[in-house]
Amino acid sequence: MFNLIKNEWMKIFRRPGTYVMIALLIVITCIVGAFFKYQETGSNAGPDKNWQQTLQEENDALKKQMEQSRTKIEQDFFKEEIAINDYRIKHNLPEKEKFNVWSFVKQASELITLAGLFTIIISAGIVASEFNWGTIKLLLIRPINRSKILISKYLTVLLFALTMLAILFVFSTALGALLFGMPEHAAPYLNYHNGTVTEQNIVVHLLIYYGLSSIDMIMLATMAFMISSVFRNSSLAIGLSIFLLFTGAQFTALLSLKFAWAKYILFANTNLMQYFEGTPMVEGMTMNFSISILVIYFIIFQFLAFFVFKKRDVAA
């Protein structure tokens, strides 16, 4: 299996396109960095001296709003805001700390979508290209059954995704440290859960944040992999997956306004962050529900990919 993955890796990294992707990821991170640097120097407002008072005032306002609010979701939201603000005042943790490396890493994590895009491109091509090139014939007449070949290809896609994420994380940390400096003591991230506020190390928080943000891309890469294996067509796989990567969440959000079944759509569940911060897309959804839905989609995608790939008559 290790040898098979080495082969797939070689086929990805011996093509110039892959380096273009990595270069793009780095260049765009730089552009984002330059943008924030420019903003920072533009508005040189240091931390607010009277931040405690400001927060207190904000809390009073929030409490009033909460009393007037009718929906449970809104009330929960206000409750969380107030709890976190209280915690800040009590433990002397100003909200607006100076923009530092970790703030930048969090901002740059938006680029996970870009890493997702590249992963989808690789995933969409990894089976379909072998058919296009005609090399599938020589690949499948080795003493290795088809399932193993497909597994090695899928694992390679995951490895590629991980590599892209690692590049993004490491590079944005390095660039952030260079441009914005390391904070003397990193302010922790405040987590609100069931009425209590807990502190979380910022790096741990960012890693979790990365992990949760990648679910989207992994699911879509898996879908692209499935389409690529079933239809042997990488353009279709790329087109459909990328389209959904950019529009799936919005579409689902629109549908969820009208239909309760929207909660069964993949994209209603890819953002697990909704259970930590903010509110679920459809009322009544829980973390466990979302994870089950994700697992079901995953199994369906993989089953289709493997079933068709194993049965296929190769006449490329």
Binding site: N7, M10, K11, K137, L138, I141, I144, K311, D313
Partner: protein, 308 residues
Amino acid sequence: MESIVELKNVTKVIKGRTIIDDISFQVNKGEVFGFLGPNGAGKTTTIRMIVGLMAITSGDIAIGGSSIKTQFEDAVRHVGAIVENPEMYKFLSGYQNLIHYARMSKGITKEKIAEVVELVGLSDRIHDKVKTYSLGMRQRLGLAQCLLHDPEVLILDEPTNGLDPAGIREIRDYVRLLAREKNMAVIVSSHLLSEMEMMCDRIGIIQNGQLIDVQQVKEFIQGNETFHELEVIPSETALSIVHANFPDAEANLSRNGISVSLSKEDIPNLVKILVQEEIKIFGIKETAKTLEDRFLEVTKEKEAEAHV
């Protein structure tokens, strides 16, 4: 002789159409088996089933005693093949391509790769990207890829397609060498008879998905009488004279006159008769029937049988 590949009543139906119809044959170790048939006859489809690229609708194929259906890995371990064109990863060098395939079989050393590269004569260019290779070089790289794991069965689908005469000859020499020295069983498909004649020990003829004949090449060619070409005018009259006097002989109009299947001893007799009938004779020459004539004959016979 020990058989290594065995097809048993193999049938392939695609979308309701029978592409391969109940084919059975065996190939022995150390033998070059020619798989001969016009385009679209089903050669590639049969080969795809032998190497497990396509499912077999009914029947079975065993390689080295293992069924390609149920013991795929064990069966295909014995096989090296090129199916249709030898497509390689163009963005990799020839060497990287070989490394790629070497990793997929057990126990292939760097030395083995070097040995195979040497054998196919690609040592100079092996580190260049495949996209810079000529068709002949790709064919050789394809051959190298087949030979990495010392297969007992080598399958080449139209290996001489698109090659120049020197390339064709090279392939022919390799094939003979491998069968003789390494005791490999080689299956070569082609739609060109002339090539088969010089390369193969045995030939199976396939037409419209049916295996219509399997014969030793020697018997195949010898199994027919000699022909004589007569350059005569008027040829129609001459033909009817031949028919009248030698009812058993086969006679046809040919380009410059007629051709008849008569033995040498009958020729003086024929000449005498033709001269008496005032036919002008410009020349007579003996022509051995080629594999091609024989092939057309066999296929026609079978067609006729089918229509009865």
